[in-house]
């Protein structure tokens, strides 16, 4: 999604996550209204807003482990997934450092590591609000690779971004010109559909 500041990209993402309820209309997943299966919808999505949702008093590893445990991962799976995610974002060296000592870019990398805690099979829908903020060129490339891997694995990504993500396949939605459609034609969030078309 592209659009000027304040055009409603973040609100649309929050609506899609189910954090806000739409005044009219709704979202479909595989043809089913997500409002009717709110819990299943929560399980299949990872939403990362612009706040980093990190606790300064916890270490890098503890922060990530908390989100893994909260997602309901089994103990052994949570531990190995956390280490793999830290490695993928080059945060192992910082793993035992309290998050308060991280730079803005490192904080962002830690937050983005939450994407790697689950597989495209269990949590296929990624809702990302300006994911490249504060990332350096190298980290942006790494993120782009992870986004591609997720798409290749059959996942769906909805992202609000100004830049850096043009190379990804998918549809462009300019939120500025977005006219809310009636419910039955509402934005379709279906895995097979979202990947197929390139605008």
């Amino acid at each position: 999604m592209t659009g000027a500041n304040g055009s409603g990209k973040s609100s649309l993402l929050r609506l899609a996550a189910g954090l806000m309820r739409p005044a009219a209309g709704g979202f479909l997943w595989d043809g089913q209204p997500v409002a009717r299966e709110a819990e299943a919808h929560r399980r299949r999505l990872v939403y990362l807003g612009h706040a980093d949702a990190l606790k300064a008093g916890l270490t890098v590893r503890e922060n990530l482990r908390f989100w893994a445990d909260l997602a309901g991962l089994a103990k052994a799976a949570a531990a190995s997934r956390v280490e793999a995610a830290l490695a993928a974002n080059e945060l192992q060296g910082l793993a035992d450092l309290p998050a308060r000592f991280l730079s803005a870019g490192q904080r962002r990398r830690l937050t983005l590591s939450r994407l790697l805690l689950q597989t495209a099979g269990t949590a296929p829908l990624w809702l990302l609000d300006e994911p490249t903020n504060a990332l350096d060129a190298q980290a942006q490339q790494r993120l782009l690779g992870q986004l591609r891997d997720h798409l290749d694995a059959g996942g769906v990504i909805v992202t609000a971004s100004h830049e850096h993500l043009e190379d990804l396949p998918g549809r462009r939605l300019a939120v500025d010109d977005f006219e809310p459609a009636p419910f039955d034609e509402a934005m379709l969030l279906a895995p097979h559909d979202a990947l197929g078309e390139v605008a």
Partner: protein, 221 residues
């Protein structure tokens, strides 16, 4: 279950690492209570008469002071979105948050209460009833306080607003807790009836406040 435990562990860890939070609540409780002998005079009988009331009111105010760290940090740093979207039911989250709050405020107050009782010349027979009443009352302070904290998320002057919303709800808790202590202090016979009422109120808040808190949190998102 393990997700709920992870949340409890995180909240406790954060509170204990910023150990000052817990210490400040206890210090406020003691320091504010110690003001009373200076204000009303050191007459032992007068102090003995008001001691249990002072302990209860100071416990309520100390709990109130710490309510803004219940949901506000999660709200401000974006963690609340993650909690709302977790597979864990929001009612369980509200319950776990209240439990974490009680473990880091109610429980330390329970430990500190005899010290304040000593300073205020509380009669020896009243200690056990006071601790029993506090044991039943302090979880209610956390449960009702959690509701107030959730309701005031995102509002300006949230701290003042919590006070106005929550203090009236604390009144019944105080009344019955005081009845338990006074029954023992004045030798009015068994306090079992009041204890059972207090326990019933605790069970009712355990059953009802998580739902109300969850609804308030959904509105805040």
């Amino acid at each position: 279950m393990s997700a709920a435990f992870a949340l409890l562990r995180r909240d406790l860890r954060l509170s204990l690492r910023q150990g000052l939070d817990v210490a400040l609540v206890v210090l406020f409780f003691l320091a504010a209570g110690i003001l009373f002998p200076f204000a009303v005079g050191p007459a032992p009988n007068l102090l003995a008469a008001i001691a249990s009331g002072v302990v209860m009111v100071m416990a309520a105010l100390a709990a109130l002071l710490s309510l803004d760290r219940l949901y506000l940090p999660d709200f401000e740093d974006g963690s609340l979105d993650g909690l709302l979207l977790s597979p864990l039911p929001l009612e369980v989250i509200a319950l776990v948050k209240a439990l974490a709050h009680w473990l880091t405020t109610g429980l330390p107050l329970l430990v500190a209460a005899p010290a304040l009782g000593l300073i205020l010349n509380l009669p020896p027979v009243a200690y056990l009833p006071m601790l029993t009443a506090l044991l039943l009352a302090t979880p209610m302070l956390s449960l009702l306080g959690g509701l107030g904290a959730a309701l005031t998320l995102g509002s300006r002057r949230g701290g003042v607003l919590i006070t106005l919303i929550i203090l009236p709800l604390y009144v019944p808790v105080l009344i019955f807790a005081m009845a338990v202590i006074d029954a023992a202090r004045l030798g009015l016979g068994s306090a079992a009836g009041f204890l059972i009422l207090l326990a019933a109120m605790l069970l009712a808040s355990l059953a009802l406040t998580p739902w109300a808190t969850a609804a308030a949190l959904r509105q805040a998102a």
